[in-house]
Each structure stands twice: as structure tokens, then as C-alpha cells.
């Protein structure tokens, strides 16, 4: 339990609701590209450490960590997007997000960690500054992209976390991968 908490989400400041149509995003780097996710899902950001790998799982399921007594799975975003798995470096962080998904007609809350190369900052991006996702060219699946935010003359890819971290889809992939490794002749 010696993971030091680098940044914990505070209660949103009073000005948060002031500007309608303006949303706050956390930006981070992954393979030298800037990505953003809405901050409402984010619970905290912790330093990378003490990760336990789970055998027979696809590469994007990096493992599990102990988050103050709870076992939280960590997703390697880079591997999820089809690139090589993230190499752990000094600034590697785990962003803990709170996701909701349906199990047997009831909503279940689950914390998931996402592995990123480094965390940049929290930005406000007005709705007018968000372009629709391009059909191709971003090197990741189009349905993972919620939009392209215009920031300082460049673009950041705003991720649709519900799609990227869909438990249903990920566990299906895991089932297939698992069936492949465990059952097929090697």
C-alpha cells in the first residue's frame, strides 16, 4: 500500500457549472500522442507500481493492483488500441476511472485502471471546439473516439470510455483469447 497518490480528484470548484457547453477533460500522452477523457469518470491518478499480472489474458489486460483493499484491473490502453504494450517508464501512471455496466439487468459499478505514458493537465474544451471523429486515420477504432478536441492549434483525441472500457467486449475478447491459449494445441 505504498503507492503514493499523485493527484486525487477534488470536488469540482464552484465555477465548474458556470459555463454551459464547456466540459473538463484530462489529457494524457500515449505513444507520443495526446488523448483526453472527461473528468467526471476519473476517481484518481496513481503512480505505476506493484501490478500483478493475470495469466491467460489478452495483452491489454495488464493485471490487477491493490487500491486500498480493493482489487482493480488495469487496462493497457496502447495494447487495447492494437499497438505494442506500454513500456513502463518514470512518468507512467494509472488513471482510475469509475465505470458502470449492466450485469443481469442491474447496474454494477466497477473501478478500472488505465495505463498511460504520462498525465498532462485538466483542460476545458467548449462543445464548439470539438470536431466529430474522422472515419479513419487516427490509428484507433473509430467507435473509440468521441470527438477531436481543438487545443492550442492541435487536436487531442477525446476517448469514449464506455466503448474503450466496455466490460462486455473486453471479457468476450478475453474468453476468445483464453480459449485459444488454454484449449487449442500450442
Amino acid at each position: 500500500m505504498d503507492q503514493s497518490t499523485a493527484l486525487v480528484r477534488q470536488d469540482p470548484p464552484a465555477t465548474f457549472v458556470a459555463a454551459p457547453g464547456v466540459q473538463q477533460f484530462l489529457t494524457f500522452m500515449l505513444n507520443a500522442e495526446a488523448f483526453a477523457v472527461g473528468i467526471l469518470n476519473i476517481k484518481e491518478i496513481i503512480e505505476y507500481g506493484q501490478l500483478t499480472g493475470i495469466p491467460l489474458m489478452p495483452a491489454f489486460i495488464r493485471g490487477v493492483i491493490n487500491l486500498r483493499g480493493a482489487v482493480v484491473p488495469v487496462i493497457d490502453l496502447s495494447a487495447r488500441f492494437g499497438a505494442r504494450p506500454t513500456a513502463v517508464a518514470r512518468r507512467t501512471c494509472i488513471v482510475i476511472v469509475e465505470m458502470h455496466h449492466q450485469v443481469d439487468d442491474s447496474e454494477v459499478q466497477q473501478d478500472i485502471g488505465i495505463l498511460v505514458d504520462s498525465v498532462n493537465e485538466v483542460l476545458e474544451i467548449p462543445a464548439g471546439e470539438i470536431e466529430p471523429a474522422p472515419a479513419f486515420g487516427a490509428n484507433i477504432r473509430a467507435d473509440f473516439i468521441r470527438g477531436m478536441g481543438k487545443v492550442a492549434g492541435g487536436f487531442v483525441i477525446i476517448l469514449d470510455l464506455d466503448r474503450v472500457l466496455s466490460i462486455t467486449e473486453m471479457s468476450q475478447i478475453a474468453t476468445l483469447a483464453h480459449a485459444g491459449t488454454a484449449l487449442a494445441p500450442p
Partner: protein
């Protein structure tokens, strides 16, 4: 109030279960008076409770049922199989009504209402056709000559009610009883007696100081009125004077109540029970009599009532017995505390955290090497262990309650199928975790139904096979090395292996020409989409059954196995862990990670002697021991160390070795589920947090063995081609 409603529903369900059990007992061997009383009491308690929480439809329905039960109890109608079947159906209906009430419906659905009415109509017909017994209690009271000329002219009952101080604390609201009383007739006049109220500074706001004097016009009989107060019978002083009571009774009443006689008298006059003149006369009569001339009509109330034939002696006797029983039951209940399950879960969670934290403390202590610290931490460890054991003990319940539900199921299903089946239950006192008990019910029901439907043959075929015509179904529970084993066995025809193989081949579950052992064939029935029943019945045979059973049991970290002998029967055995929350584990290290083997499976540990061949077995004192290399099975990165260790584990009847890098020793672990993301993961049963804060994975040994077996058989299948 919500809590009260929940308590009502829970208690009523318990009463329903008792009702059902007693009815079945009655059916099996026409029970004694005690059974009949038990049945009546159960229905009565439900009605009483429903009255208190003002659920009219349950009161209305249960009331009719109760009347019939009352007649049954008094011997007015005879016990018959039809009547019991009907009463069982009524019990089910009350259960449905409770369900309606639980979702806060003001009225039951029209469908349910119709079903209820139909049941009631049948009940009333049964009751009416029954031989008439004693005349109703009220009928004879008119013939009773009055002892004195001073009868009070009135058609109203007089009810005098004094609540005990603690009535509110017991969760009873006096007002509800009055409301309910109002449904039986009209409250003509009500006077609240607040004389017991102490000065404000001494008053306890949670105590009830009130009493009531009530004039009540109703055609209900005395027992009915008394039953209104059934629930507070021990918490109040109740006097009921029938209409046309003698003056002397009123005077007796005045004397027996704690308040000042004159003041009470005034109240009685005010509410119209007595006139002033009558009161004066009466009080005069009660003046200390002349020496030796005791007034002939001053007799205890109970006696008066009996004399008046308001109450029959038999009833009084029954009431006394009942009261004695009720108080017996009360004392038994006093030793039980109802606790909300989530409070208990929270406690167990905390104890779990405590176990982890203390593991971490003892790790640090042993690192520091300070003797006093080690001693203190080992003492704490021991205390934490016993705390854990006691906390887990709180969740332990006997499985008997779950088992006894099967009496009804077996009865219903075997009737439906026209089979004669005896259910034998053993080991009902075996305890296991409540959450396990809750989840094991459905798979068990499925197995039992299957055994009745497919297992046990029809009577004709049984006799032809030289078996006793009556089928036998056994449910047994027992403890076995840290787990509980539940078996469901029948003496039916056994599994038809030819049919299973044919079916499995047809469904593509089995390659033609593939030879399986008998046990493997038997276990094919747990494959998804498998059903050998030639015709689909309402009970089973849709082919969704056995794989669901297996999955449910696996989700409890359990295993199910089937053994069958053709012509002699089938036995399903379910092996379950005692608890879902904490296990004793054996910690091993392989590669970068730590793994936990459930300690109760570990037989021994030894060092793996350097292997020359590629074979995955070793010689364990002359025994062949197949082993699994975690490194290989999990495709772990990195090289295997030069020295490896073997943990010998026992799963079922099989002994298997697990080859790991290091042995790290015993460790108490709190099981943390891995969540839905890992639902496809086989071979890992869950995770746990070590004292160092690291996460370790708990090995699911039987699943590992299954993976290894399948892998090898595939390899073997693919090699002949090369």
C-alpha cells in the same frame, strides 16, 4: 414503519413455512392436536400481523382459512387429503399475497384476487359439507339465566384496555389495534385514560402510559375481539365485557383496574356504559360487606365468563395452553437477534481487512527480529484468527431449513407424475455459510426434480425390475476436509450411457469413435445443451438444466460430480467451500507473481528432483503423481529456476502435483472477487491481498487439472497425424 413491514413479511414467510411443514406432517401421519394447533397458530399469527400493518387483503383471505383451521382443530371437520391439498394451496396463495404486499400493492392483481376467491369458495364448501360439530359458542349464552335482575341495558361490548409501558418499544402501535378493531364493528365511544402519565420531568417519551375504555358495537364474538389484541396480549391488560353484562362485572372491572375506582366509574358513565345510578348502586354493593355475608356474585372474571358461557371452558383451557406456548416461544426468540445481512457483511469485510492488516504486521515483526514484537504480534494474530472464526460463525446456518423445503417439492412433483417417492433427509444440522445456502437452493431443486422425473422409474417398471414400488430419494449433507458435501441420490434406473453417448455425438459434443471412461460419459450431462429426456415435460427436459446447475455450483467455488450405476440409481455429489469470504491458503511463488493454493487441498510439499524426461509425472513413494507446471500452463515469461518445488494437492479422489518456483508458507486470505472482466478466466478462483500490499491469485485446482487434462488430450489427438 418500513422496518416493521419487512419484519412482518419475513415472519409471515417463516410462519408459512411452519404451516406447510405442519400440513405435510399432518398428511404423512394424521397428526396430533399439537400439529393442528401449530397450523392454526401459524395462520393466526399471519392474520394478526397483517391486521396490525393494515393489509386488508391478507387479513380477509387468511381469516377464512383460519376459520376452517379452527373447525379442523375443534374436530368439527375431518382431516382429508383433499383438504390438506387445498390448505397447502391456500398457504401458497398467502405467500403470493405477501409478495404483492412486499411490492407495496394496495390491492392484489385481479388474477390473484380471482384465484384467491376460487380457493375460498372451495374452502367454504369443504367446511360446510363437513359434519357439524358443536354449536357455535355464542348460541348458548342467550339461554343462560341471569343471576341478578340488575342487567345493564346495552348492546355494546365494553373493552377496557391498558397498555404496558414498553409496548411502543416492542414495535406495537396502540393506534393500529384500535384501527383494526374498527374494522370489526363500530367504536361507539372511546375514552383515553391517561392517569398513569407521570409529571413531565419523569416521563419517558418512549413509553406508553395510555389506556382506553371503549364502547364497541359489533356482532363479532368474544374470541374475535380478543384476537384483535393477540399481538399485544402480553403487553397489555385487556378486559372485554360482552353486551348485557351484569352490573357486578362492571364493578369487578373497576376494582381490577389500577386507576381510581371513582374516576373510572365516571368515565364509564361518560361513555355510556353505565348510568350514574347504576354506578352508585354497584359501588354501594362493593362496600365491605357485613361480617360473613359475602356477596354471592363477586367471583373472578374468568369464572364469570365461564358461567355466562361467553367462553367455553375448553376455550379457556386452550387459551391458557396457548399462552404458555407463546411465552415459551418468546423466551426462545429472546436468545435470537435479527440482524440485517448487510451489517453482518460489513463486519465480515472489516474482519477480512483486519486479517490482511495483521498479516502485514506479523510480516514486519518477523523482519525486525525483535522478540517482544514477534510475541505481541503472534498473540494478536491468534486473537484475529479467533475473531475471524467467530465472525464467520455468525453467518453459518444449518442446511436443514433448505432441505425441508424439498418435502413439499417431492410431494407435489411425485403426485404430478403419479410416482410414489419417499424423501430421506440426513445431515440437516450441517452448517454452512448463509450466502452459500441461499445460492444452493436452485441447483438442488433442479437435481431433485430431475431425480424424480428422470431418475426414479414409474411404479410398474420398478415392480417389474424387482425393486420396492416406492422410490427413494436421499438428500444428505456432511462435512469433509474443509468443505461441505451435499449428495442427492435416487434408487432409480441410473444414467443411460448409450443414450448419452448417442446424444453427445449427435450434438457434436463428442467425436465419433472417441472412447470415454464411464465417469466421463456420466459427466457429459453437464455439457450445455444436453438433455436425454425423450419427451419434454413441464418439470425438466429443456436441456438448459444441468449446465446451469454446474455453472451455479462453480460460481460458489464448488464442484459437482455424478456417479451412476445402471439399474441401481444415480448420485450427484456437490462439494462446496464452507465460506465464501476467507480461506486458509498456502502461498507459493512462480515467476514474478504469488499464488495461493487452498490449504485444505494441500497434502504435502517436496522438492522436484531434476527431470531427465519431458514427462509430467513423478514417482511419489511408488505412486505415479501427475503434475502441472504453472510456468507452462500460464505461459509465464522468464526462465524456470534450477530448483523447483512440488505442492501435492488432493482434489476429489485424485492427487496431483503443482510445480512452482518457491514455497512461501501458510497464509490466511480474504477472497476478493476479480470481477466480471475476468469471468472467462479458468484456473484462478479469485484474488487476495498479501501483507505487503501485493495482489496474489488464488488457484482453482480442479479447474487447473481440467485445463491440463484437456490440453494434453488435444495434443495427443493432434500427434497421430504427424
Amino acid at each position: 414503519m418500513d422496518e416493521l413491514l419487512t419484519v412482518f413479511v419475513t415472519e409471515s414467510r417463516e410462519q408459512l413455512a411452519a404451516l406447510e411443514a405442519a400440513l405435510l406432517q399432518l398428511e404423512a401421519a394424521s397428526g396430533d392436536a399439537d400439529t393442528l394447533h401449530a397450523i392454526f397458530r401459524a395462520a393466526h399469527t399471519i392474520k394478526g400481523g397483517a391486521g396490525v400493518i393494515e393489509c386488508d387483503y391478507i387479513v380477509a383471505f387468511t381469516h377464512v382459512v383460519e376459520n376452517v383451521l379452527d373447525q379442523l382443530r375443534n374436530g368439527d371437520i375431518a382431516v382429508s387429503a383433499e383438504l390438506i391439498a387445498l390448505l397447502l394451496a391456500c398457504g401458497d396463495h398467502i405467500g403470493l399475497l405477501l409478495g404483492e404486499f412486499e411490492i407495496r400493492r394496495v390491492h392484489p392483481t385481479a388474477e390473484l384476487q380471482l384465484a384467491g376467491d376460487a380457493l375460498l369458495a372451495r374452502l367454504q364448501r369443504d367446511a360446510r359439507t363437513a359434519p357439524p360439530g358443536l354449536p357455535p359458542a355464542g348460541a348458548s349464552s342467550a339461554t343462560q339465566p341471569s343471576l341478578g335482575q340488575d342487567m345493564i341495558e346495552s348492546e355494546c361490548w365494553h373493552i377496557s384496555l391498558r397498555f404496558e409501558r414498553h409496548v411502543l418499544k416492542n414495535g406495537m402501535d396502540p393506534l393500529s389495534f384500535l384501527h383494526y378493531l374498527g374494522t370489526l364493528g363500530t367504536i361507539v365511544h372511546l375514552e383515553t385514560v391517561a392517569d398513569a402519565m407521570p409529571p413531565a420531568d419523569q416521563m419517558d417519551a418512549e413509553a406508553c402510559y395510555l389506556g382506553f375504555e371503549i364502547r364497541f358495537a359489533s356482532c363479532a364474538d368474544k374470541t374475535t375481539i380478543e384476537r384483535v389484541f393477540e399481538f399485544v396480549r402480553d403487553d397489555c391488560t385487556l378486559h372485554i365485557l360482552p353486551p348485557d353484562s351484569r352490573l357486578a362485572d362492571y364493578i369487578d372491572l373497576l376494582q381490577s383496574l389500577p386507576e381510581d375506582t371513582m374516576r373510572l366509574g365516571e368515565i364509564l358513565v361518560r361513555i355510556g356504559a353505565l348510568t350514574q345510578a347504576e354506578l352508585d348502586d354497584g359501588l354501594l354493593m362493593q362496600q365491605p360487606p357485613m361480617a360473613g355475608a359475602a356477596p354471592p356474585d363477586v367471583v373472578p372474571l374468568g369464572e364469570i365468563l365461564v358461567q355466562q358461557q361467553v367462553v367455553q371452558p375448553k376455550l379457556v383451557e386452550a387459551a391458557i395452553i396457548r399462552q404458555a406456548r407463546v411465552s415459551d416461544k418468546k423466551t426462545a426468540e429472546a436468545r435470537l437477534i435479527r440482524i440485517q445481512a448487510d451489517k453482518l457483511d460489513r463486519l465480515i469485510d472489516l474482519v477480512g481487512e483486519l486479517v490482511i492488516a495483521s498479516a502485514s504486521v506479523s510480516l514486519l515483526a518477523s523482519r525486525s527480529g525483535r522478540a517482544e514484537l514477534l510475541e505481541a504480534s503472534s498473540l494478536m494474530m491468534r486473537l484475529v484468527e479467533s475473531t475471524r472464526d467467530s465472525a464467520l460463525q455468525l453467518r453459518m446456518v444449518q442446511i436443514g431449513e433448505t432441505f425441508s423445503r424439498f418435502n413439499r417439492i417431492v410431494r407435489d412433483v411425485s403426485k404430478e407424475l403419479g410416482k410414489d417417492i419417499e424423501l430421506v433427509i440426513t445431515g440437516g444440522e450441517t452448517e454452512l455459510d448463509k450466502s452459500v445456502v441461499e445460492k444452493i437452493g436452485d441447483p438442488l431443486i433442479h437435481l431433485v426434480r430431475n431425480a424424480i422425473d428422470h431418475g426414479i422409474e414409474p411404479t410398474a417398471r420398478r415392480t417389474a425390475a424387482g425393486k420396492p414400488p416406492r422410490g427413494r430419494l436421499e438428500l444428505n449433507a456432511s462435512h469433509d476436509s474443509g468443505s461441505i458435501v451435499i449428495t442427492v441420490s435416487d434408487d432409480g434406473g441410473g444414467l443411460n450411457r448409450d443414450k448419452i453417448v448417442a446424444k453427445a455425438t449427435e450434438r457434436g459434443l463428442l467425436q465419433p469413435g472417441h472412447n470415454l471412461s464411464e465417469a466421463e460419459i456420466d459427466n457429459l450431462i453437464f455439457e450445455p445443451g444436453f438433455s436425454t429426456a425423450d419427451h419434454v415435460s413441464s418439470l425438466s427436459g429443456r436441456g438448459v438444466g444441468m449446465d446451469v446447475v454446474k455453472r451455479n455450483i462453480q460460481s460458489l467455488r464448488g464442484h459437482v460430480d455424478v456417479r451412476s450405476a445402471p439399474g441401481a440409481g444415480t448420485r450427484f455429489s456437490i462439494r462446496l467451500p464452507l465460506t465464501m469470504a476467507i480461506i486458509d491458503g498456502f502461498l507459493v511463488g512462480t515467476g514474478q507473481a504469488n499464488y495461493v493454493v487452498p490449504l485444505d487441498m494441500v497434502v504435502e510439499c517436496l522438492e522436484l528432483s531434476p527431470q531427465t524426461s519431458d514427462n509430467h509425472y513423478l514417482n511419489l513413494r511408488g505412486e505415479v503423481l501427475p503434475f502441472i507446471r504453472l510456468h507452462e500452463l500460464f505461459n509465464l515469461p522468464g526462465k524456470r529456476p534450477a530448483r523447483e518445488n512440488v505442492v501435492v494437492v488432493r482434489t476429489g479422489a485424485q492427487k496431483v502435483g503443482i510445480v512452482v518456483d518457491q514455497l512461501l508458507g501458510e497464509f490466511q486470505t480474504v477472497i476478493k472477487p476479480l470481477g466480471h472482466l475476468f469471468q472467462s478466466l479458468r484456473g484462478i478462483g479469485g484474488s487476495t491481498i498479501l501483507g505487503s500490499g501485493e495482489v496474489a491469485l488464488i488457484l482453482d485446482v480442479p479447474a487447473l487439472v481440467a485445463i491440463a487434462t484437456r490440453r494434453e488430450s488435444r495434443e495427443a489427438a493432434s500427434t497421430p497425424a504427424t
